[in-house]
């Protein structure tokens, strides 16, 4: 009896390395921070009271919530119709559109933020175009205000709204809508009564994701907003920079965390019950207008029934109406895609500028900013450091994360979901909070200002991404294939190497991609743990964006734009290579 029991204990053990890193760098310091904020061992709420007594603090807190809410709302308003049109598109077109949404999502956040400076700046794209057209006589104040913050954040968050929505919408059985229409529902009623309620789980998970991530935003509001547009993260960062008062910082951090936790608790905790609840009809009152409307429509429909046969004929010739609607839809989707891709495109064009300043469109074309990048050892050194750290993070977190995902996959569902939630904390919680605890954690190991320390900090988030992606792959993996291998005398290790690993390789590659990109784009946590002695590429870029904006950064940025594209290509090639014989065997089969 003891041997099978030992075997069943084993899988969770594979998650030990992941949890060791999580606890040492994040978990234990988090607990210490929390105790500090409570004045342990005295235990009082004095720090929290002090926080709320200061008007400025409360203003920033509300501002953070307000900005997050507005961004979430805009993302829903733009994202829902986009996702709807994407989900209704033919499969190939849909795949292409999804790739177009994923590419900006994978593009460095710094690059995209920088691009908005190029687009919205006083001598940027929009102002120059308007001046050129003579529509304005002096540049409009498009940047360093709340509006710019919204534009930048929406562009960054929109993919995170669209992707879950598309996933949910694709899985909705369209024949349900057809059925509703066959029962006399007008297209709009069929949509509101059938499709929309079924798509709500997607709206919910998308909104939750966007909102919680917005709460922790730091870079974009700091770069695009005015002085009065600070979010709580910026505020905490400023506190850390000026006077590192542990108790005060810890208190602000836990208030920020508290909001995120409350939102997750209210909307997130019953995610499991989402499906069931979404199907439940909405409360009567909120539906009355719609129901009344559809009742009127249905009534007039009855009246018109006798004419309908004749009208059908006429309808066949009303194609122009339909064509107009198709064009309108296409224009909408294309605009959204342009909005998503614009920053990358602008950055690439900017990088070839011959001008000295940040002027768009560039006055001429040259490679001088690339030269200036490659000739400046502070840039190349930073890039090298980032590559070094990125590679280390990718290797470490891909191995540790894959082991953890594999172990968790073989654990009871309850334990699995708790442990996964813990592993995901570094990417769900505001980076400034994670950064501060990583700082404390590394301090106790004497790793502040070392590459090892930075790599460990990045690994927190990178492991989370690997766990998410590999777990998703494992969830669709047929466990019976492993049993089959075992029945053929393959031991556990052989089975993993010969069967499991080749089949989940695309997931592992995807995880590695996210791990690398995460490390290669990290500013907030890195700036806290680098101890001013190590310059990574993102740190150097961030410094540049804040102080001297010269187009060298555009050259760096446009190189970074290439990165996700190259990775996607690499993944595609491995995926395609994993089934070459499938392609080859087909002609044989035909012969």
């Amino acid at each position: 009896m003891s041997i099978p029991q030992k075997l069943s204990l084993k899988p969770v053990g594979l998650a030990v390395p992941a949890f060791a890193i999580l606890l040492a760098v994040f978990g234990i310091p988090m607990i210490r921070l929390f105790l500090t904020s409570l004045d342990a061992p005295a235990f009082s709420l004095a720090n929290y009271e002090a926080f709320f007594r200061q008007g400025a603090n409360v203003r920033v807190l509300f501002q953070t919530i307000e900005v997050s809410l507005v961004v979430t709302a805009i993302c829903v308003i733009i994202g829902y119709p986009t996702a709807y049109l994407m989900a209704s598109a033919p499969k190939n077109l849909r795949t292409a559109l999804i790739v177009l949404v994923v590419i900006p999502y994978l593009t460095s956040l710094l690059v995209r933020t920088y691009a908005w400076i190029v687009i919205l700046g006083d001598r940027g794209m929009v102002n120059n175009v308007l001046l050129e057209l003579g529509l304005i006589s002096s540049p409009l104040p498009l940047i360093y205000n709340r509006m710019a913050v919204y534009v930048g954040m929406v562009q960054i968050m929109l993919p995170l709204m669209i992707l879950p929505l598309v996933t949910v919408m694709v899985s909705i059985d369209r024949s349900l809508v057809a059925a509703a229409r066959s029962m006399g529902a007008q297209p709009s009623a069929a949509f509101w009564r059938v499709f929309f309620p079924l798509s709500l789980p997607g709206v919910r998970s998308g909104s939750l994701l966007v909102f919680v991530l917005c709460l922790g935003f730091y870079i974009t509001p700091a770069a695009l907003g005015g002085l009065r547009d600070a979010m709580l993260s910026t505020f905490i960062a400023a506190q850390v920079e000026t006077s590192f008062n542990m108790a005060r910082t810890a208190t602000s951090a836990f208030i920020l965390l508290g909001i995120a936790a409350v939102m997750l608790a209210i909307f997130g905790l019953d995610l499991a019950g989402t499906q069931g609840r979404a199907v439940r009809p909405m409360p009567e009152s909120s539906w009355k207008p719609v129901r009344l409307l559809s009742a009127i429509k249905r009534f007039s429909n009855e009246l018109a029934a006798s004419y309908r046969a004749k009208r059908w004929n006429a309808k066949l010739y009303q194609a122009s109406n339909i064509r107009r609607r198709t064009i309108a839809r296409a224009v909408f989707v294309v605009s959204v895609m342009l909005f998503l891709l614009l920053p990358s495109v602008v950055v690439v064009i900017m990088s070839f500028s011959a001008g000295e300043f940040l002027t768009f469109p560039p006055p001429g074309i040259s490679l001088k900013w690339y030269r200036s990048f490659f000739d400046d050892p502070s840039w190349t050194g930073a890039a090298l450091t980032s590559v070094e750290i990125g590679v280390a993070v990718t290797i470490l977190s891909t191995i540790v994360g894959t082991l953890a995902a594999y172990g968790l996959n073989r654990t009871s569902p309850k334990l699995r979901s708790i442990l996964t939630l813990l592993l995901l904390a570094p990417i769900t919680l505001p980076s400034i909070v994670v950064g501060i605890s990583a700082y404390l954690g590394l301090l106790s190991f004497g790793l502040i200002g070392t590459k090892t320390g930075i790599a460990l900090t990045h690994s927190l988030g990178a492991i989370a991404y690997v766990v998410v992606i590999v777990s998703a792959t494992l969830a669709s993996f047929d466990r019976r294939l492993e049993q089959a291998a075992m029945s053929m005398r393959a031991g556990p290790l052989q089975t993993f190497k010969r069967v499991t690993l080749p089949l989940i390789r695309p997931g592992i590659m995807g995880g590695a991609l996210f791990a690398f990109l995460h490390s290669f784009d990290e500013v907030v946590k890195t700036s806290l743990v680098s101890g001013l002695s190590i310059r990574t590429l993102p740190l150097k870029m961030w410094e540049n964006i804040r102080h001297e904006i010269d187009p060298t950064i555009a050259a760096v940025a446009s190189l970074l734009v290439l990165l996700p594209v190259l990775w996607l290509a690499a993944i595609y090639v491995t995926w395609w290579r994993s089934r070459p014989s499938a392609e080859h065997a087909l002609p044989d089969a035909a012969a």
């Binding site: 041997i3 047929d478 019976r480 294939l481 049993q483 089959a484 029945s487 499938a582 044989d588 089969a589």
Partner: protein, 351 residues
């Protein structure tokens, strides 16, 4: 049906095996012995513990209580990958990233066989299952029947002493299933391999098996040769589960039998053992061996070579099945008929 000699030694033995999932006993105190070369089928309704029994034997599930012996030795401490069994999974579980040939080589490779010998074996088995031209295809490029044959070939290629089949033909359509039943039977004989098969399909069980285990709620309800199981079911559950049965519980008339009805049993008659005749038709020569009752036809269903009558005798419903033959009278709903059967065809099953 090839009858397994009684002399053959016991190959697999379950001793009081219980498997608990929480408070639910998926398998409950099950004891069972399978002889070498036997084809044993486990049959039962959904959730009765068939798959669990098979997985216990395969070593993918550990028993909560009891012991399993293979070849006389306990395998409690033997992990699945050392048990030396060929398994055909319900969905076949062919490795999707390997060609048919590489799939077939896998078990040989794991046993450390040399490449030259492996290739020879693979060719031989491909020939045996009529898939010579398909060795380089990926599993996804095969039809369901072809995949099934690859799965079978992969389970047999290393000559394991035991073959386990989990609903092996479940995914095939009817005609292919019948064809594969024949194939499976031939292979079983050829490889002389002890086989344990789980199925939903009664026909499959009746055609293939030396013995059938009928399971219910994790326990064995009856274990017997197919003919015995059908002809002499021990319980009402088995009678109803295998084919159709008329259970005559308080039928409103006395049931005549050559036997004394044991207590706690009910009488059972198979529908094909009953004849339908016009009420006034002349008595047969062997009428003293028969019992006859008068009833009313409620319904007639015509099903190809068969006719099925639902007849009510008083308040007792009867199902009667007869082969369509020339000159036979046909009755309609409402007609009065006489049902008759041989007394020796009445069975008593425990209630």
């Amino acid at each position: 049906m090839h009858i397994v000699e009684f002399q053959e030694p016991v190959q697999i033995e379950f001793r009081n095996i219980t498997k608990l999932y929480g408070a639910v006993a998926a398998v409950n105190d099950l004891s069972l012995a399978v002889r070498r070369g036997e084809f044993l089928t486990i049959l039962g309704p959904s959730g009765s513990g068939k798959t669990t029994t098979l997985m216990l034997l395969a070593g993918f599930v550990a028993p909560s209580k009891g012991d399993i012996l293979i070849g006389g030795k306990s395998v409690a401490a033997v992990p699945s990958y050392r048990r030396d069994q060929g398994i055909v999974f319900q969905s076949y579980a062919l490795f999707p990233h390997l060609t048919v040939r590489r799939n077939l080589e896998f078990p040989l490779e794991m046993r450390g066989m040399k490449p030259a010998e492996r290739i020879k074996r693979v060719e031989r088995i491909l020939e045996r299952v009529h898939l010579n031209d398909f060795g380089d295809r990926m599993p996804s490029q095969l039809s369901g029947g072809q995949q099934q044959r690859v799965a079978l070939a992969r389970a047999l290629i290393a000559d394991p002493p035991i073959l386990l089949l989990d609903e092996p033909l479940g995914a095939l359509d009817r005609s292919l299933r019948e064809q594969m039943q024949v194939e499976l039977k031939v292979l079983h004989k050829e490889f002389a391999i002890t086989t344990v098969c789980v199925t939903h399909d009664q026909d499959e069980a009746l055609t293939l098996s030396d013995r059938i285990v009928v399971m219910r709620d994790g326990r064995i309800e009856q274990i017997d040769a197919p003919e015995m199981l059908y002809d002499r079911p021990a319980t009402r559950f088995v009678a109803k589960f295998l084919g159709e049965a008329n259970i005559l519980e308080n039928p409103g008339f006395e049931i005549e039998s050559d036997m004394v009805q044991p207590s706690g049993t009910v009488a059972m008659l198979r529908p094909e053992r009953i004849c339908v005749a016009p009420p006034a038709s002349p008595k047969r020569a062997d009428s003293h061996q028969r019992q006859s009752v008068i009833g009313t036809v409620a319904d007639m269903i015509y099903a190809g070579p068969l006719r099925k009558y639902h007849v009510r005798v008083g308040s007792t419903p009867f199902v009667v099945r007869e082969h369509v033959a020339a000159g036979q009278p046909v009755f309609r709903a409402g007609d009065e008929v006489r049902l008759e059967w041989l007394r020796s065809d009445v069975r008593f099953v425990s209630a």
